[in-house]
Amino acid sequence: MIEIKDLHKSYQTGATSLHVLKGINFNVKEGELVSIMGSSGSGKSTLLNILGMLDEADAGSYTLDNVPIKNLNEKIAAQYRNKFLGFIFQSFNLIGYKSALDNVGMPLYYQGMKRKERVERSMAYLEKVGLADWASHLPNELSGGQKQRVAIARALASDPKVLLADEPTGALDTKTSYEVMDLIQGINDEGKTILVVTHEEDIAHMTKRIVNLKDGVIIDDSFVNQVRAKANV
């Protein structure tokens, strides 16, 4: 599903250049649930942003579902993001003046889907994350865990190939974190490919494979026995 080869990325700040990714190689197959670990500042988000086509690598190749991702103009990139990817952020990033339902419907809106169908689809995904009753609520009327569920429903709405989650539990307490991980595991069980960036060991062990990043290179990449979140709730 995802193939990256010798990926490099540096940030230019003033006169100094910060080489963040120094040749990353890895592949993710369909249906995998992978966590990317590493200390703060190790380049996890940078990697995920490149995978999410929100940013571009300086060198190396990236293929997503056999489509080479290279030199995309912003319009094509937007369409690819919409079609191929679902994003889950640490800070939820819901649109404050839109109801939960409308937030979930955003990717469908940008697909040009008619309102009626959009509402139906969004409602189905809200149901899936257990928030059907909260459809008309604004984000600030929801708890952190509920917000992240709405965000997950939104990420799923356009039925993307891959979900990219950057510290999805970073802003949540342990109990809520496990509930969210339970949801993510459930989605993965249905076959969705998911990448989770985290720096928490327990969260990482709820995935099936841990990629360890340090000083811009992968120092460890191994499959683990998945800990079911449900058991810990």
Partner: protein, 421 residues
Amino acid sequence: MFSRDKWNEIIESLSSNWFRTILTAFGVFWGIFILVILLAAGKGLENGVKQGFGGMATNSMFMWAQTPSKPYKGLPKGRRYNFKIDDVTAIKDNVRGLKFVSPRNQLGGFGGSNNVIRGLKSGAFNVYGDYPEIIQQQPMDITSGRFLNYNDIDDKRKVAIIGEAVKTTMYDSGEEVLGTYLKINGVNFQVIGTYKKKGNGGGNAEEAQKEIYVPFTAFSQAFNQGDLVGWMAITADSQHSITALKSDVFDVIKKRHNIHPEDTRAIGNFDLFQEFNKINGLFIALKGIAYFVGILILLSGVIGISNIMLIVVKERTNEIGVRRALGATPWSIRGQILLEAIFLTLISGMTGIIAATGVLAIVNSFLDKSNASEMMFINPSVDLGVVIIALIILIISGLLAGFIPAQNAIKIKPVDALRTE
């Protein structure tokens, strides 16, 4: 482009901060309000002044004989000469593009002695010998009876059409006028009509009602004018301006009366077209000033909207980043910002137009109550053309207001937009 969803998006984001939206809208509201009021005021003044022309055929001139200032063909300067009735036909035959050439003779005038008598009443009035066309050159409302016709001319009938002021001087109120006789310089004329004039070339409206019109031929005969013509009222057709044809007319006269071709003083004239154009030019300038001032004020309103949109875009950087992560193309973001700006300008502008029209309606209802014919200011109004121009200006303004903010909105990379927290 104008799907319900797009509208919802716009309304949602504008209504997320009502107070600011309304404050922003006020600048444009004010600009267009001033523009419309200024244009309407200009129009009102124009209506008032132009009514002074009383619907006169403005493509006209009046022409009379003066004394030649140069000797020519053995004739001395300073001699007297007069237009003759044959001059009229000669002008008609030799100058193309003329609609009417009306010879006139005149008796009396400002401050003249009493020249009209009826029983014990007498008065001093301007008496004109005219052709029927004069009513098309100097319109008047026939308030009773009829105006001159060619039977009157051909039969040299001693008939007269009198002004309302003549009527009030020479008759008791309620007295029958038509069919009665007036003695003009000792000759009896039968009154066959009365008129009322609206204006007189910007001149005195009062004086314009103190005139008596009789057939040119009857005038010549009754007052021993022979074939003399006092002056002429000449109107050009709509394809020509009288100002352009003037010298051709003069040339005909000069040739027939042995006047030096370079003599500019031998023929006197009053060019209504030129005068009218001067006034017209004034109103065009006035309109220009109205647009200038209005658009400047509007511009400051537009800059206000642009400013607020910039702040809005800045505030919404994160939201824009999220939208782009979810698949919003640059054009959909840009389009949204532009539409918001246009929508805001249009709504506030339209409110301004409506408010201005309301104010004008109130002003008009007051003006209507006062005697409008005495006013310099009549029916200040804006026509549909002005409203359409204003709307076009508004849409363009909205585009301008939204352009920089829209560019700003997509300038930031999605990653950077998402990072700001």
